[in-house]
């Protein structure tokens, strides 16, 4: 039993090392790819697949998040006579947490699964080896365009999700609960600062990177056969989901610390 535990621990450490090397190579190669014009057409293609095709599903997700928050929070606030503050609760939750996280989870399912399945199939049919055999770096040709597209477009898609969340929450508040729209927007504007919106968008950048690297890594290392590809897709989604939540926590702590460092300076200036 001890031997089995030890073997498992060694295997996990080796896999973590492999993933670390893959992530580092992906990051450095992607940075270099930004300066290569020949990579741009590959990035445009991935941006279309990852970005444009995801807009409807992301907007629907955002809208339902905002609407559901309005339904759930109204009774609590109305009980205290604070129903006009409903916009504060909805909008701060959407732009700082729920918008970025749920958009990223949706992308992990839609984009991450597709990336892993595509690269996994290429792996088991030796197409990745074929790329290597022709003297082309598969990280540069296959991973870098996908990583760059995810890094650039996850924040943009998050803005769409935030926007629809705000609109969805407002519509339910006005039409369902008959809240005064002027008071709703006034309280929201005073509570939601540019910093809150920026934090959400900055988080999305990291989520996009995590989804792309994890999905590509699982695709590159999937086992043979249809079962292997299917298992890799499942693993990629689970790993991406956990990474999104872990990153969300770590980034929330980091941004809060940064905010508390700079808040006194802002107060002095203004």
């Amino acid at each position: 039993m001890i031997a089995a535990l030890g073997a498992k621990a060694i295997e996990d450490v080796v896999n973590a090392g492999r993933f670390g090397r893959f992530a580092w190579r992906s990051a450095t190669t992607s940075a270099r790819s930004c300066a290569r014009k020949s990579t741009y057409p590959l990035i445009w293609t991935q941006m279309f697949i990852i970005g444009v095709n995801s807009v409807p599903v992301i907007m629907i997700t955002g809208a339902f998040v905002g609407m559901t928050l309005a339904i759930q929070a109204y009774d609590q606030l109305a009980g205290m006579g604070l129903e006009e503050h409903l916009g504060v609760l909805i909008n701060i939750s959407v732009v700082k947490e729920l918008g970025p996280v749920l958009a990223a989870v949706m992308l992990a399912g839609r984009i991450g699964g597709a990336l892993t399945a595509e690269l996994g199939t290429m792996n088991v049919t030796e197409q990745i080896d074929a790329v290597r055999s022709m003297g082309t770096d598969p990280i540069r040709y296959l991973v870098a365009p996908r990583l760059l597209a995810c890094l650039l477009l996850t924040p943009v898609l998050t803005i769409f999700a935030d926007l629809m969340g705000v609109v969805g929450g407002a519509l339910v508040s006005f039409l369902q609960f008959d809240i005064n729209s002027r008071a709703y927007w006034m309280f929201s504007a005073s509570a939601v600062a540019l910093w809150d919106v920026s934090v959400g968008i900055a988080k999305a950048f990291f989520f996009g990177g995590a989804i792309a690297v994890i999905s590509c890594y699982k695709g590159f290392n999937c086992k043979e056969g249809a079962h292997g590809v299917g298992q890799a897709c499942t693993d990629a989604f689970v790993a991406s989901f956990i990474s999104i939540l872990a990153l969300d926590f770590a980034l929330a702590v980091t941004f809060k610390t940064i905010y508390h460092i700079f808040w006194p300076i802002k107060s002095i200036v203004t």
Binding site: T125, E126, D129, R132, G135, T136, D137
Partner: protein, 152 residues
Amino acid sequence: MEKNTDGNGQGCEKDRGETIIEVRNLTRKFGAKLVLDKINLSVEKGKTTVVIGPSGCGKTVLIKHFIVLQRPTQGEVYFKGNRVDNLSEHELNGVRTHFGYLFQEGALFDSMTVAENIMFPIRQHAKIRDWRQVEEIVKVKLALVGLDGFQN
């Protein structure tokens, strides 16, 4: 895989003798399974070298070591006298452009057309100004193997 020391075949007499690919004491294990056991082999210029063996004996694994798609557990691989099995992936890209490798299942890029598959290495390594010329060459080459009209 049995130990092999030579191949045989035919080719241009003037080209014979120069060793293009050489493996020395090549050993490859997958976990505890020993697939290649101290293989020594030379592939000479101008000769047709054939590797024959039963299914699953490691022929593909051996040939993948020639262009270092797999790294040996032990032993060395040389290309034109230079050791290549210890090169980085980046350094190997230059070496691999000298090889033509046909995979068992074809390994064609299924997201590309026939013409795009043929043009892939040209796109990656050559700085071409007139792509119509390349498309014309692809058309001619496909016609040579009776596939004219199947570019797309």
